[in-house]
Amino acid sequence: MDDQTPMDDVILDVRDLSMHFPVRAGMFGKTHSAVRAVDNVSFQVRRGETFGIVGESGSGKTTLGRCIMRILGPTGGEIGYASEGAGMVDLAAVEDAQMRDLWREIRMIFQDPQSSLNPRLPVIELVGQVLRKAEGLKGAALADRVADLLKSVGLRPEILHRYPAAFSGGQRQRIGIARALATKPQLVIADEAVSALDVSIQAQTLNLLQDLQEEFGLTYVFIAHDLAVVEHICDRVAVMFLGEIVELADTETLFAAPRHPYTRALLSAVPVPDPRQRSDRRLRAAAPAEVTDTATACKFAARCPHARDLCRRQRPQKRTVGGAEVLCHFAGEI
């Protein structure tokens, strides 16, 4: 509907990406089926934006992030990445050695600052290790750079030689962010980066992420389950359900006029912090669906209040409705 995005604006171009995990059983570990954690997913991320991926546990959002980072090798599709140094590369196909170089440009922030920071390393190592390897920095030069990074995330440089145990969850997450920023990345994958934080710390951290984005021109892929946070920070949002993107739109469109029944169910389940707006909660009391064979049906059909015969017979194709890409046979009608 709107303008065709020029290619040089796209930093990440994911096409038909799949990550299937084989399910083995029996004595000889024969593969008898596959879990389609990510199933034919396509989207583009534009330089400088915050691209949100939301979904519940099991939706495949974390697996998707890990495929982009090549922590996992996808089983199908392409991940085009516009590298600063090397031009357009397919992250799904690059050699490990090249990927190690690319890990300077593409960094990750994890959910749990408790377990993602090695408790035996002081801050200077946690943040600076990558600089030691990538740029050969050491001694005072390294300490200076790490101190600068700490300042940019709002931590005092005096903490260089302290260990993770000395910090609160919010401070640890700032250390994790400083580590992600150490190599001046282009693209940052934030997987549930603020989910484990308290409300007041969460707001500080979201503000920090926005400030850093402005300062360093970062592009974020922001993976989260909290829809209010996603609405606050993201420019565009993809909603995942059982490995597929069921809806993709700019944030305003998605939250003002959700088209996919799953997006609607998800939005209606979020408790609103206003006691006068207690939702009509019986709407969403649908029992959790048992996962069935969905090779020939819409994956959401079993839980969908609008499911018709067609939905159980045929997989829907992506359709564009009112500025949103929707994976639903009846996207425009319901």
Binding site: Q202, A203, H225, I233, P271, P275, R284
Partner: protein, 344 residues
């Protein structure tokens, strides 16, 4: 004012906590996790205790059931529970291992946790665990207990309860385990259910189902609920009364409408402002609370919130401790609203 002011009929509270102090005596010093908490739970109503990690809300809840781990112990205050026969007992004065408190635990007051495996044993079938709880507190034959357990599993929305009766906890999904734990907590029809972050680890759609379930069961059995959470959305959805905790104290309490519409304490206000809300896009930054919760061993003098407070008044807030006082529609502990003690 569209809401008529409720007529004060003064029903006796089911639970009244007064001046409760639970301290931890560690090698590094005394951590005053709960330091003078006052609150009440009315029969049949839901009280939400709202606070961030480290505010003492879980320790307060565990103090009620006397399941605080060492080196923690109640060092002051009272927890008055009004039993079904009308008599009042002080739970804070009981021995944590006494028969009296064990009778109350599970049968009068039950507790559920964020992590279901806190109360479910890992190596015993779900059904057997529920049956044992029933036999402990209710006069029933084994066969009756089994039927009651299956009925309860069904009641909490577990599909095929007769099959799941034979399941081990690890065979169930997170949401189903949460339901199984609720079934076990409710099988003796407690008069008070304490729920400590029961939905924090769950997806929003599962959370919605669990909250609905607790609301339904509350109505059906007429039980009171104390729900501990950090999620303002959950509070707005289920609470009748709210108590906001900060650093071991209740800083504000009132009915849910007053707390959300006329919050008086700067902390309550800041909390309400700092959450992103669906459909309300802040242009740019969120109004965040500066700084962080002080280290438990280094409590500020005077008001516990003063180190982060935008309205901090030197010479007052760092000298005197504010007490909870009725101001307008809520009880608040803050010198912006309460008179400052005359002498120093």
């Amino acid at each position: 004012m569209t809401q008529p002011t409720p007529i004060p009929t003064e029903p006796a509270p089911l639970l009244r906590i007064a001046g409760l102090k639970t301290h931890f005596f560690t090698d590094d010093g005394v951590v005053k996790a709960v330091d003078g908490v006052d609150l009440t739970v009315e029969p049949g109503k839901t009280l939400c205790v709202l606070g961030e990690s480290g505010c003492g809300k879980s320790i307060m809840a565990r103090s009620i059931l006397r399941i605080v781990d060492r080196p923690g112990r109640i060092v002051g205050g009272s927890i008055t529970y009004r039993a079904a026969d009308g008599r009042s007992v002080d739970l804070a004065a009981m021995s944590p291992t006494s028969a009296a408190i064990r009778q109350i635990r599970g049968s009068d007051i039950a507790m559920i946790f964020q992590e279901p495996m806190t109360s479910l044993g890992p190596i015993q079938k779900i059904g057997k665990q529920i049956v044992e709880t029933i036999l402990l507190h209710r006069r029933m034959s084994k066969a009756e207990a089994k039927e009651t357990a299956i009925e309860m599993l069904n009641r909490v929305g577990i599909p095929r309860p007769r099959e799941r009766f034979e399941a081990y906890p690890f065979e169930l999904s997170g949401g189903m385990r949460q339901r199984a734990m609720i079934a076990m907590a409710l099988c003796c029809q407690p008069r008070l259910l304490i729920a400590d972050e029961p939905t924090t680890a769950l997806d929003v759609t599962t959370q919605a189902q669990i909250l609905d379930l607790i609301a339904d069961l509350k109505e059906e059995f007429g039980m009171a609920v104390m729900l501990i959470t950090h999620d303002l959305g959950v509070v707005a959805e289920v609470a009748e009364d709210v108590a906001v905790m900060y650093l071991g104290k209740v800083v504000e309490k009132g009915d849910v409408y007053s707390i959300f519409e006329e919050p008086k304490h700067p902390y309550t206000r800041a909390l309400l402002e700092s959450v992103p809300r669906l459909g309300v896009r802040h242009a740019g930054r969120l109004p965040a609370i500066e700084g962080m919760v002080p280290h438990p061993l280094v409590r500020p003098t005077g008001c516990p919130f003063r180190t982060r407070c935008r309205a901090f008044m030197p010479g007052i807030c760092d000298v005197h401790q504010p007490e909870l006082q009725r101001q307008g529609r809520t009880d608040v502990a803050c010198f912006l609203h309460n008179p400052v003690p005359a002498h120093g």
